[in-house]
Amino acid sequence: MEKACVTPNLVTPNKPVIFDANVCNGCNRCVEVCMSDVFMPNPEKGKPPIILYPDECFYGGCCVKECPLHDKGAIRLNWPLMQRVRWKRKETGEHFRVGMLNPPPPNTRPPA
């Protein structure tokens, strides 16, 4: 028989960032620079921090910016579903959305 589990309701959305545990080395730089102090260091050394207060994240992205391994994907900002905006290709009329399956290739041009 399958088991069901129960906890009190969670705050949602609750994954403001996504860590790649294979890349993140647990340096906790993101813990140190988060304005709202939403993370705590993982009790297990070398593991990604724990997102303790996800609802206090304001998506400023300091954690990503300051992460020494962000270009390798150690941490990425994960907009909640309601923030995933749409766009349309002017020439073709194709529609896209942040978070869609099979997205177009990334635009690699850096900011000015």
């Binding site: 996504i18 620079v33 304005m35 260091p41 990503v64 910016k65 905006v85 349309k88 177009p104 690699t108």
Partner: protein, 643 residues
Amino acid sequence: MSQGKNVGIGMPLKWPYPIRYREETEVSADVLVLGGGLAGCFAAISAARKGLKVVLVDKSCTIHSGAAGTGIDHWMGCPANPASKITPEQYTLSPTETFRGGYSNVIATYIMARDSYDVLLELEKMGMKVRDTEDEFKGADFRDEKTKLLFAYDYENKHCVRIWGTGMKPALYRECKRLGVNIYERTMVTSLLTEGGKQGARVVGATAVNTRTGEFYIFKAKASVLCMCTPERLWIFSTEWTGLVGRDGPPTNAGDGHAMAWRAGAEFTMMERSDHEEWGGSTGIGSMMFSSGSSFATWYPCSIVDANGKEIPWVDTEGKPIPTISQRTHPAPGQDFFSLVLGGGEGGTSSVPHLIPDLAERIKKGEFALPLYADLPGMPQHERRAIFGLMVGQEGHTWAVYRNLTHAGFDPDKDLLQVYELAPAPPGWRRLRYGGLAHDWDLKTNLDGLYAAGQQIFDGCGASHACSTGRWAGNKAAEYAMRADKPVLSREQVDSEKARVYLPIERSDGIEWKELESGIAKVMQDYCGDTKTEELMNIGLKSFSEIKQAEASTLCARNPHELMRTLEVLDILTCCEIIIHASLARKASNRWLSFERLDYPEDDPPQWRKWVTLKLEDNEVKVDELSLDYYGSLKESYEAHKK
């Protein structure tokens, strides 16, 4: 890919930091800076340059703390730059721009207008990029070829500089460290200490609590500079929208500085001014600030098209159509200059070209089809790159927008980004933006030893304002500290604050901060919303008084982080009370202050053309007034106090 589980959910965790509730550390300084945003860093830097011992206390992490901690795109109010065609006096007193019927902080605006270019050069020396050194925008209409500075809005008069502001806080942080400023991070200031513990007396220090360990701090200083932010979490609160309020400011902006100054007896003004959130879309329920298509601020002057590609027309101040893109960035015939009016007020006329004001009606009539899109591909190449590559890339929390959108495949050369900013926010959703401390030409408050800058002073807004006033206030506080007597603390005052601070961790059966914050927001929407009356606001005050005695007296916190949030909400409650007191005191509507009294509908009658000020005296609210032109003569006063 392993995503790292949200281990915290449903599983009690051991607090990762040592708990040191009530343990005391005493720190002495010549100049104590409270708040580590732009204004606080600059205040600390200017005081440290005078060779004084400077301590800076920051609730967050100084490298990225404050309203502009993640970046800033515009350096507004910079008419002293070499390419500008207008003078600081023109900028400060322009009736359609900054002056706003006299309801503006002329002293601070003028200090910014005179000093902000020099301050920008200082930031450049500290390592922040301020000009187009790679010549990426060579030949652009908004570039000054001689200085390589880039400008926004009014390309003719060039008084607002486009900057690479994500580097601003890191540069300031490094400079503070270099100058030996002693920084206490993750340390929430809870009260100002006054001589003899008396309300209204000289400020001689502050108390604080560490937000990770719960340790108690007593700071003693000859002079203090209060540099915290306008509270943002007053009328709107939700934990399920982004960032507690979903607004552009970080959730740390809880009005701690306002609340502690109030309790110490400092005098406030402009607290009756709040503005209805014009765009529901920008409150976080639709999309984050500037993460979607727009023609405003960071996205100015982007073309907007409808679902069929039909362009939404632009008009000038007079409502005359302006068909070319170039007209959006040049003054109309007869107009001296224009800038984005920060705080124009609901009745204030916008002198910035904008989309047709009757767009919603024309959509209903079928003239334009929804949804609308920002037409970046239709913009000239330099404009497109400046809007999306530079401004979106640098503005507060849009650094992440640039990264996330491009990573998802968005290409500004090809793609139309949807506009979500159409629906107005629900009734009663307001925002305090400009209320703060009254001050003189030294940016000194009514309390001896207490100076203020940035959003802590009334009508404070913008990065260049924060940096310029921070530098000024830091200098003045340092001068005061050099001649001031030794500060003497009142142990009784410290003890009483210490008892207040730790109450929430001593309780175990009561409400938590989120419920209180939501309740406060509801009171503000219901009793101090878009239209105000004596009766409504008195009920609001009565509600707060009841809530303080009942629910707020049961607040619980389980760790130092929750204690910080709990203390914040108590500060939010205090800020709301100040707002209602101020709104009761002004018995006249005022469109410049976005202030509508149903029971006093006449707009800005002559007998009410003044600042209403208020402060606590013996714990009673004392209302007073100040003439609108109390700043006196601009140039003479500036020169006299600059020294």
